[in-house]
Structures are given as C-alpha cells and as structure tokens.
Point group: D3
Chain length 293, copies 6
Amino acid sequence: MFFHRQELQHHATPDKPDAVFARKLQEVLGGQYGEITVAMQYGFQSWNAHLPGKYRDLLYGIGAEEFGHVEMLATMISQLLADAPVGAVEGAVQDDPTVAAIIGGTDPQQGIVAGAGARPVDSNGNPWSAGYVTASGNLLADFTANANAEMQGRLQVARLYHMTDDHGVKDLLAFLLARDTMHQNQWIAAARQLREEGVEDLPVPSTFPLGKEDRDVAYQYINFSDGEHASEGAWASGPTPDGKGEFTYVAEPPAGVPMPPPTQPDPRFHGTTPKPSAMEKATGAVKDALGKG
Amino acid sequence: MFFHRQELQHHATPDKPDAVFARKLQEVLGGQYGEITVAMQYGFQSWNAHLPGKYRDLLYGIGAEEFGHVEMLATMISQLLADAPVGAVEGAVQDDPTVAAIIGGTDPQQGIVAGAGARPVDSNGNPWSAGYVTASGNLLADFTANANAEMQGRLQVARLYHMTDDHGVKDLLAFLLARDTMHQNQWIAAARQLREEGVEDLPVPSTFPLGKEDRDVAYQYINFSDGEHASEGAWASGPTPDGKGEFTYVAEPPAGVPMPPPTQPDPRFHGTTPKPSAMEKATGAVKDALGKG
Amino acid sequence: MFFHRQELQHHATPDKPDAVFARKLQEVLGGQYGEITVAMQYGFQSWNAHLPGKYRDLLYGIGAEEFGHVEMLATMISQLLADAPVGAVEGAVQDDPTVAAIIGGTDPQQGIVAGAGARPVDSNGNPWSAGYVTASGNLLADFTANANAEMQGRLQVARLYHMTDDHGVKDLLAFLLARDTMHQNQWIAAARQLREEGVEDLPVPSTFPLGKEDRDVAYQYINFSDGEHASEGAWASGPTPDGKGEFTYVAEPPAGVPMPPPTQPDPRFHGTTPKPSAMEKATGAVKDALGKG
Amino acid sequence: MFFHRQELQHHATPDKPDAVFARKLQEVLGGQYGEITVAMQYGFQSWNAHLPGKYRDLLYGIGAEEFGHVEMLATMISQLLADAPVGAVEGAVQDDPTVAAIIGGTDPQQGIVAGAGARPVDSNGNPWSAGYVTASGNLLADFTANANAEMQGRLQVARLYHMTDDHGVKDLLAFLLARDTMHQNQWIAAARQLREEGVEDLPVPSTFPLGKEDRDVAYQYINFSDGEHASEGAWASGPTPDGKGEFTYVAEPPAGVPMPPPTQPDPRFHGTTPKPSAMEKATGAVKDALGKG
Amino acid sequence: MFFHRQELQHHATPDKPDAVFARKLQEVLGGQYGEITVAMQYGFQSWNAHLPGKYRDLLYGIGAEEFGHVEMLATMISQLLADAPVGAVEGAVQDDPTVAAIIGGTDPQQGIVAGAGARPVDSNGNPWSAGYVTASGNLLADFTANANAEMQGRLQVARLYHMTDDHGVKDLLAFLLARDTMHQNQWIAAARQLREEGVEDLPVPSTFPLGKEDRDVAYQYINFSDGEHASEGAWASGPTPDGKGEFTYVAEPPAGVPMPPPTQPDPRFHGTTPKPSAMEKATGAVKDALGKG
Amino acid sequence: MFFHRQELQHHATPDKPDAVFARKLQEVLGGQYGEITVAMQYGFQSWNAHLPGKYRDLLYGIGAEEFGHVEMLATMISQLLADAPVGAVEGAVQDDPTVAAIIGGTDPQQGIVAGAGARPVDSNGNPWSAGYVTASGNLLADFTANANAEMQGRLQVARLYHMTDDHGVKDLLAFLLARDTMHQNQWIAAARQLREEGVEDLPVPSTFPLGKEDRDVAYQYINFSDGEHASEGAWASGPTPDGKGEFTYVAEPPAGVPMPPPTQPDPRFHGTTPKPSAMEKATGAVKDALGKG
C-alpha cells in the first residue's frame, strides 16, 4: 500500500519562470531514465522478487522515494511554466525577440494540453513508455540495470545543471544529484553483496550450468572491426571477472559456416520461390558445402 | 563501413520446424534486450565516443558481431517457421489437437505479414524501438548499461533453452550463452579499467564537482517503506563503493517541506483556478508555513 | 511524498496458478484503463491543480490508493504464474493437451522476460504508455475523464470476472469492482459539485467567452449519415444540458464552401506542382467560386 | 460506406502563413484529443454497437462530420505552411531575427517529410496512435468517454484561440468551438437518456450483479493522503449518484492484509530465490500472520 | 466533407463465428498495410496535394472507398466474435479441447476491452500508428508508396484466404482481393502517366538539379557482400530506368576515407574525453592521414 | 556475418558546427525513411528470401552499405553538435539573439541524453520503430517498397540540401543523393526483371488464382468523391498494367448491401444490447431486407 503526504522531500521552487527549461526538465521526469522509470522499475522488481528480506526491503524502500521525486519534478515544472507566454510568435518578436526565442524552445503540449503544467513525457514530448522498465526476477541483473539507470539519470541532471542560472532550480538539482550518488553506490554495493553472500554470481544467470554453454568461445574477444587497440584492454587477456576463465584475443573472426539453404514455405504464403529445378540445384550445393548432403 | 559475408558465425539450423518456438525466439532478436538492441547500442556508442583507442575499438569490434547475431537468429526463426500451419484452427483441431494448440501459440504476423519469416519484433509482436538504446557519451555509464544488457540477454536465452527440445536450436543457444558470458565479463572488465586508469570514476559523471551536490544526503539510505531488513545491507553502513563516504541508515524519512502554493497560469489557459479571495488565503498560509511570507 | 507499507489493501492470492488468466489480468494492470493509468492520471492532475482544497485533496487521496492497486494486481499475477509451464508445446501436447492449450494462451514475455512475473503491459503485451493519461488543468474536463476511466475499468473487471472460476481471483475482483463503483460515483459527484459551486460550468471551458464561438451552429445536430432515428434523441430537440440553448436537428448538412486552391510551396520542397498556366486557371476558377476573385 | 464531397464544412483559409502556428494546430488534428481520435472513436463505437436505432444513428451521423474536420484542419495547416522558410537558421538570423525565431518553433517534419504539408501527428510530432481510441460496446461508458473527448478538445481549441491573431484561423476555431459545444451537450444528453430509458444505469456496467461485488467498500471514500479537505466534498457524505447508497468518509485506510509470501517459480527461470531453509522460515512467518499456517 | 450511408459495399457476414480468425483479420484492418493505413494515406496525400485535377480527384475518390473498407472489416470481425468463448481455459479444455485451443489463439482485448468487437489494432494487438502513413507532396514518390501498399495488402489478404474455410469470409476476401488488384494497377498506371505527361520523372525528385549530386556514383552497384550473383542482374549493366545513365558493377567497395577525429564537446556534457596530450596525438594522426594537417 | 572497417564511404565533416541542422539531419538517419530503415529492411528481406541467387545477393550487397550510411550520418551529426550551446536561453538572448534562436531549434535530447551526440530518432525525436520495416517474402512487393523508400529518402535529402549553406554538409548530401539515385533505379530495374523472367507478375501475389477473386470489380475505378477529373486518367480506361484487363470508370458507386444486424454478444460482456422484443423487430427487418428471412 502507498500513502501520500502533502509535503515535498526538498524545496522545489524556482526563482522565476522559465518555460524553455520547463521543457528540458521533462527529460528527467518522463524520459528513458527519468524518475517515472526508476519508480516503476523498483516497484515491479519488488513485486516480482522471490527472495524476502533485505534486498526486497531495499526495493520497496527506494521505490516509494522515487514516486516522490516524480512529484517534486512535476511541481517544479508547473512553476517554471507559471508565466508561459500565450501569444503568437510573430507579433511577439517585433516587440521582444527574447519572447519569440522562448516560444521556439518550449513544449507546445505543456501549454495546449496541460494548461501550463507538467506532463508524463520526455523533453521531446515522447510519452513515457513501460518499455523502459527492467524487472527480470534475477536480482544481480536487475541491480546492474538499476546502477546504470542511476548513472544515466545523474549524468542527465548534471547536464541540466549547466543549462540554467536559476538558484531555486539548481538547489533542487543539487539534491537530486546527491540522491543519485547514493543510489549509484547503493546498487553497486547491493550487487556486490549478492555475490559475496553466494546468492548470485557471474555470469548471470549463475544457476545455468556452464557445461551446457559453448565454453570454447566463452572468453574470446573476437574482433569484427579493424581497430587494433582493443587487444590492449583488460578484456583481451588476464583473468575474467567471473573468476572462471582467462580472456583471449582473436584478431580476426574464424571462418563461419555456410548459410543454410533458403526456406521454401507453403506456396499459399505466396513468397517468391525458385522453380523446382533451380531450387534443387541450390539446395544440393549448400548441402554439399555443409557436408550433410 | 560495414561488409557482409554470406556465412554465419555458428550453425543455425533446427532439427525440425516449431512455429511456437519461432515466436518465443523473437524475444532475443527484437525485444528490449535482443540482438538488435545491442547491435544498435554499441554502434551509437562508438559513433558518439570522444575517446579514441582501445575503448572505441572495443565498441566497433563487438557491434559488428552483434549484427551477425541478428542475422543468425533471423535465419533460425525462418527455418523454424518453414512448415508453419496455414489452415484454420477449428478444422485442424478435429483432426489433430496438436496443430490446433500450435496455432494458438504462434505469432500470426510471422505468417500473414512475413510469409513465414522472422520480424524485427519481440515475442509479443511489439516492433523494436530505438527507445531501448543507451548511448550517453559517458563510457562508465554506458559500459554499465552494456553489462546489464548482456546479463538480461543471457538470462532470456537461458530461459528459452528450457523451452525447447530441439538439438539444433539448443546448439545455437549454447553458442549465444557463451558469447553473452564473454560480453558480460568484457564490459565489467572495461568498466573497471576505466576507473583504474583514472579515465572515469564513481559517481558518474565524476567530472561534476561534488561540492555542488547536496552532500548531506549523498550517502543516506532513507527508508520509505516499513520493512526493517534494509538496514542489514551493505548499503546501510560502511564505506561507499565510490570511496568518498560512509553509508548511513535513516529509518524514517525526515519531515519534508510544505508544497509550494498551486500555480495560477494565465486565464487564457482556462484551468480551474480559485476565486481571488480563496487564493490569497491559501497562498498566505503556505507562505507562512514556508517562513517566507 | 509517498510512503510504502508492506501490506495489501485486500487479499490477492489465487486458489491455484493459471498462466492464461495471468495474461488476461495484465489488461487491468497495464492497459489503457488499467491501474497504472488511473494512478498516474490522478497524480498528474493533482500536481497540475491550481485550486487548493477539497478537489485537490481528493486527487491526492485517491491517487495513492491506485498505486496500491497496481501492487495488488502485480502480486496476484505473479502468483498465477507460479507454476507456469516451461517446456515445449509439442512435447507437452502429446502428454497433456491441456498444457499445450495453456501455453498457447500465455504471454511469453511473462516467462522469458520477467521470469514468471507481472509486467507493466496490457493483455496483448503492449507496454503501458503515458499517452493514456489525461491531465489538462481543467477539473470539470478531467473529472469527466476520470469518470470514464473508472467506467471502462469496472467494465473490464466485470468481463474478467466471468473468465475465471478461481475463488481467490474472484474475491480480489469483487473488491476492485466495488472500489470502481465508489470511484465512478465519486467523480460524478465531484463534477456536479464543481458546477453547483460555480467553479466550473458547461460547456468546458466555461471561461471562454461564448460570444466568440460560432453560436449559429452551437446546438445543431447535423446528420452526416442517412439514419433517421437520431432525430428522436434528446440531443435533437429540447433544452441543452449547459442550460444555454435549444437543440435543433438538421437532417442534411448544408452546402459547404469550396475548397481553397491547393498550396504552392517553395519549389525547393520538390512537391508536385502544376505548370504555371494550369495553376493560374485552377486558382482563378476557385477564386471565382469563392466570390473573392 | 463513406462518400466524399470536395467542399469544406466551413472556411479554412488563414489571412497569412504562420509556420509556428501550423505546428501548434497539429495538436487538435493528430493529438490524443484531436479530430482523428473522435472520428475513429465514433466509427469504432458504431461498428461495435449492439443496439440499433437512435444511439447508433447518432454515432454514424457524428463520425462522418469528424472526418470532415480532419480535412478542414489539414487544409488549414497546409496553407499556414505555404511560405514556410526553407533556409538555414544561422544565415537567416543575421538578416532577420523573426525568421530565425520562427524556424526554432516549427515542426521540421512538416517541411522535410511532408513538403510543407499537414501530418497525422500532434504538436510535438508524435504520430497519432489508435491507443487513444475508446470503444467498449457499453454505450454509457463510451458516451462518457465522448463527453470527455469533446471537453478536452474544446479546451485545447480555446487555448489555441489565444495563440494567434490571424482572423482566418480564428474564424475556423470559432466554428470548431461551437461544434464542440454541441458535441459536449449531445453526449451528456445521450448519456442521460440511456439512463432515463432504462437502457443503462450506474454503476457501469449496470448488468453486473451488485451482490457479487464487495459492497462494504462500494461507497467509502478512503483517504490515502493527509489532506483533510476531501471530507468536505459531495463524495464524502450524502446519497451516491447511482442512487444505490450513501457516501462515507474513512479518514485513514484500515489495516491491510499481510503480503503473500514471494513466489518460487521453476528454477529454470533463473530468478533469485532463497536457500530452502531461509524460504521455509519466511513462508512460515507469513502463513502464521495470515492465520492459514 | 464526408458522408456516411448505412450500407456496405459488399456482403460481410460469416457463415459462423470464429474468434481465432477474428484476431487474424485485424491485420488487414489495423496493421501496417491495413485499410486504416490506406484510407488515411490517401486522405493526407489529397490534402497535401499541390496539383488540382485528375490526380487529386483520384486520391479523393479512392480514399473514401477505403474508409468504407475499414467499416466492412470491422463489421465482419464483430460477427466473427459473436459467440466468442467467455470462460476459463482450464475448465473448458476438460470438456472440449477445441474451445481451449481457440482461446489460446484469440485476441484477449477483443473480449476484455471491446466486448467482442473489432479494434483499431493489428493481429498482434499493436495499436494502429500514423507512423505507417506516407504523404510527401511528391506524387511520383507517393503513388509508388501506394502501389506498394496495395501489393502488401493484397498479399496479406491472399494469405488470410487460406486460413479459413468460411464461405462468407472468403466471399468478402475475394471482393477485397479484386479491389486490391484494381488499386495496384491504378497506382502503377498513375505513376506512369505522371512521367508520360512530364509532370514528374525519375529519379525522384526530378526537380533537384542532377548536376548537384555526386554523379560519379549515381549508377554504380557497389557490392558490400561477398555474393557474386548480383553482377548478373539488370541493375549491374545496361541503361538505367531513369534514362540518364548506364549501370556499372563495382565488385568491391573502393577504399573509404579516414574517420574524422572524435568530437570533444563542452566538458559540461560530462562525456568521456581524452587527457589533452592523448587527444592532440590522436587528432594529429588523423589529420595527417586526411592530408589536411 | 558483418565486418566493420574504421573508414567512411565518403567525407562527413562539416565546415562548422550547426546544432539546428544536426536536429534536422536526424530525419534521414532515424526517421520513417532514414538509413536505419533501409538497412534493416534490406537485412530482413535477405534473411526472409526464399530464392537464392542474384536477387538475394543484391539485398545482401546493399544492406551492408546502408549500415555504413547510418554511421556516416551519425558521425556528421556528432560534429555538427560539437559546439552546441549549453547555457540558458534567457541569459543568452540578451547577449546574442542568434544563440537564443539556435537553442529554440535544437533537439534537447541530443544534449541532455547523448552529450552532444547523434541518436536513433527522427527530427522530432521519435525513436526509430521497426514498424517502418517491410519484408514480406514476396520480392515484387518488397522491391516496390524499396523503390518507394529510396524515393522518399532522396526527396528528404533534397529538401535538407536547401536548409544549409555548409559546404561539408552539402558534399555529403550530394553523395547520398547520388546513391539514392542509384538505388531508385536499381529497385525499379530489379522489379522489372522479376516480371521479365517470369519469377513474379502483377497483380501481386501473382500465384493467387485470379479465378478466386471477384473479377467483376477487379478493374473498375469507382468514384467515391464528386470530382469528375479522375475519369480522364490512365486508370479509367485502356489496358491495365498487369495485362489482364481493361480499366472502366464507374462515376457513382452502385448501391451497397444492407448492413447485417448488430451483434448480440454473450451478456457477460456487458455491452449495451436491446431488450429482446426490440431486437427481434430489428433483426427481422434487416433479414427481410436481405431477403434471407
């Protein structure tokens, strides 16, 4: 169950309206790595968790905070829009080019659709999509997804920090930056602890028997480009992070296998198929090449 | 520039057709963490990279391999569909309930749209979306995204492995599992090396001056749920992974700040606004509470 | 701010697993009118509200309940999936046609992507989209949107009620049906009160001066089809619900106005445009018809 | 069957081009509540209608008008774009800041993709999606959806009215405002008549037996936020609009029920699950709490 | 303006219900190449047309027919769903495996959302998207798009024809097949006539001065794969269809140009950038290679 | 298998940065007809091809080139963004209106999300969608789709050519225009050859027996609008392009057939249905009209 309290975790009041920044700020509210994403992601991870105890409590405890961040950003955006210009560009520009330039940089839907309000969209107006959410039921994979989400999120807030001079906005962003610092650290720590406690291990999923994968190529860096410097990386030699192998470097991909002959679906699919004789020949050739003929 | 060779990196031929599995396999071709995602993601990361040398070569080298994996899976799916049933369910079920059940589990668009062919969609038929791609220009964030992508990808392949008895299919999946093992290890190793070489550090982005974030809350676990076990985790006490602080546990969120008064946009937005007198009262009350009145 | 408590508002435990119903139940979790929609919708309406007091408190008070409903449904779905079949259809069907039929009706992503868990998608696997949300800042419009959402939602739950025999599931649905009954009644009552208190009125937005709209056609039913029975409706004669006019019935649309001449954009757009002489003639003809030549 | 006549229902010619407004006007053509939405919505409602007679004739009669509104808006937008600037911003701005500001506010796809033409998208360029359409087969629910659509639509047109000084544009908007006034009134009247005639009733769907829902909570306002003013509303006491109950106000949500124990899916889903002993303990505790142990 | 008549262009009544086929038939109603696509496509092409006369009349004349096809298919789908099973799979399968298999193959949203009605979606339930529509303002390009749309559409109807035994359904499909035959022929004839009359020519857009494109590579087939047979095609030698050149075959792509040095954005974007010294070296090397240093 | 070489097919370096054009150029990278579309389209067509030899080699050979074009455009966009402004609009505009105007016209996600980098989106920021891809397995249909894609693509590049003065950009566009000239010609030539060789024919699919379609209406132009000029076109009389008929012109659509009676689904779908007596009457009337009663 969720409960709401009519307070904000931190001040969210700009010094003055700024309709252009109100559009940009939508990114960290409703974008791929905005607050809606992490709120929903931690929620679904908790509801799909199979392990009671500290890891699930962590997901519950952070998820609710993130819904509050959605609220803080929406509140801030509404205020940034408070005096959004309503009028026409062409008239405006004759009086004041600043206003004209602002109109060019605003999100028209914040005005037309929301009446100068925040929307569940990103800075280009794409509606938030649940296609951004990751919740697999495997905690090591998901905590890595979460660490990434907090990294991308903090990076975007840091970029936004330099796109405004408003002290009220910067004050909120400074708070969000710090919480993202915490959350990055937290998911990395949680992922490590999963491994230290033997709950999960690399490679994910560690419960799949390694003997069933094709171990010959499990630690090879195979270079499909012509850059030579990848051989210098920590991924080209030395022990692997999963502690189960040694990296090797394969400068050129080995020869592949011939493609199987093209399929011949039921004629009622009306695909373009060869005349029987042509096909026989082609199939024969491929089979020969495959040594299966 | 990209070049194509008419070979596959590994065999991709099933023992026999299986139209139901052909649908499921779409997930790792065109789903959120399918091969199209990683191919495009490594591509955009390389094109947006600012650092020449081994890290960019790594992105180039792996990206092209992943486009080849797209091809392998599409080839496999086409063959699994080779004898997809065309007829009506109700007729079929009287003769053969197996066929009827199969039809229920197939992707109708593989037949109607692609003529028994693979499609750039996931196992529910959602078209692949570039909204899945992450390429921020910050390599530590992006390599973490990549590690996650390979974890989620291997997890899905491992799940699919148990949903078929076909040796040809399992042989391909065993190959993909091994490559995902490599790629998980590789991105983790690369992320570590970025930190060891001092190119990047935690928290991401490490180039944002920490003094500008709200350091008081940068290492606090604040518990917004009523579970008590999160206090036992490695994220609740001890040194933080970024090496710059100590985790603390805050059992109950501190009191928040009052919400700012609701906005009063231009009346030409036709929002529902209070009568002037009511509004003055409300604003006054909030300002008093904020101590700003 | 939002707070989470590790309880559910109502029991959400099925008598036994049912992977097919787990797919169907996704509709009221992540569909157009599922719980995510109403939770987010009431949230954005509250954050964009300009009127403090009972209406905004109502939005806050209900929004948090709906996030709890998201949790209840996700919890139920996870349990319905607890014993989801993993194996292949064709093998299964030989042993047990029931299992085969079930596999055909399941959502493959609940297994492959979520590991037998709930997902933020609808019953066809479409990811939830913020394009479903309505939050305009005008409360009379938005409460009408909310009444509709609760009607559509209760209708879908009522349909699902007959698609299962599971007492645990039916018990949860009975609870949700009742809450939707409340919420329908509540939004209708709130919309009425807005009008009774003179805060808003019909037509929405009531603050737009009626004198500026084309009053001649403001209460005409114009029949663009050849059915004759629409003339019998309450919308074809009598006073209008906004109390400002009388309905009239126009059996056949009056003659329209000529279309304006086709546009002739800059040739650098490379559209298909007429030779100058042809165009002059065409434009002339249209202008004559318009009486503007 | 649909027939087209090469006339418009109303004049749709601007006084002069305005590429910035051409972008904004897309909202009421191809947005969530634009003319495409209502045209398609009334269409699908009529095709899914089960009740012949006046209600279905109403849907047919209005649907075709709305397709004509799509055409009027597209025609207007094309003309607003007739002299859309083609050149580069930076060059332009040195000569004329107005042109530069205009370019900033235009939809680039109207030029690049449509050659200075209208597109089936909203004012942020999101393609129209059938996810906006509501057609449930239940007329009381759907007429409420329609009333909402016409309210949101008229609200957006009213906002656009103040964003232009062009008399030709305002003339068309004045016509659309009036038709939306009619359509709001009409759907409200139709919804009322459904109830008065006993065809449908509240709560929707009225054919679901009330005895099967959880009547104890069917008229409770349960306050999940800490605002106190919701108790003052018409939804907190007094008779309910469905005429079947009395509202009550529950200031604080009653205690919930314990969450069910986390699920333990088949290990071949490779979720993160507890060690057997830990799990037994956890399950036991929950079962005790549930009183089912 | 559009007018509706309560008739269908052709019979659209199945012999008996078939809920599985009702799902499949959605493809040609609401899929990428379904009737909604062509109706909207011809509409937008006509509204964006710059050339009055026969070509625009053609677009108007066909567009309205296609809206009628939307209606015919929706009507057919509703009837196919008339007796859609409501009950649970597991109960059903014990009585009747046919019913269970059917449920597996149905679209759950046709029942839960539309109450056994048609929906504006494809056979996998993806909502129709205006991203499918093409309307560029260039008639030669757009008529080619239309020819393709009618080819893909007829192909899908032909595939569906073999997926049913129902005479009523087949009768409607036979009608649609014939209309698609007409429309394919018509768009090809119209595209030819555009060229014969000198209104448009190849390559599209023919109004762009050829001298400004890079004529050296304007007729080269450059082979980026290792197949040798492309050299045998009509695109590898002989005159080109635009009548302005001769095809040549380039067996191996010529050497490319070095990549430009990676970009170094403003540090406030926090991308991963080299240390200054490393960068100078890298840039120098690339400049040397480019011969621009 | 795909291989990458660290070269570009053509120079892709602008003379100077231009963040506004960087946004516009996204259209031909990630739009409906951008390079990602053709690269993926030719890829899926080759993987779904059933005919070995020159046609499939053609698809392979071009597909890889297009992936290289994706890379060239991404490289160009990154450089155009190299000095993208970071600061606030309002501050900037006081110093320099050019900068303010530029900010208004930029894509905020190129900065906030990609750190001044290219993204897999169009010029309005819509993520690329696999819903743009066509790959049916029928080569005549698909080559027509390809011809259209290259026409639309070249048209967009031609429009962009006039939106910049930058010589470096124009040089790349001149190269792309020429390659699109080639590809248009090539697909037209390939489509012709399919027919000349008797592999495919019109109407698509030519393998569907014509006798099963409704030949009476297979070559009729039926005019659903009131324009008279369509009768003058090559599609209104004379032989049809498929060589199998003669066009005829039907000035007015013939009378249709009565609509079937509305459906009466299971009452548990809770649709709005007539009272039994009303329904009997209605059904009877329709049946009479249909002559089936």
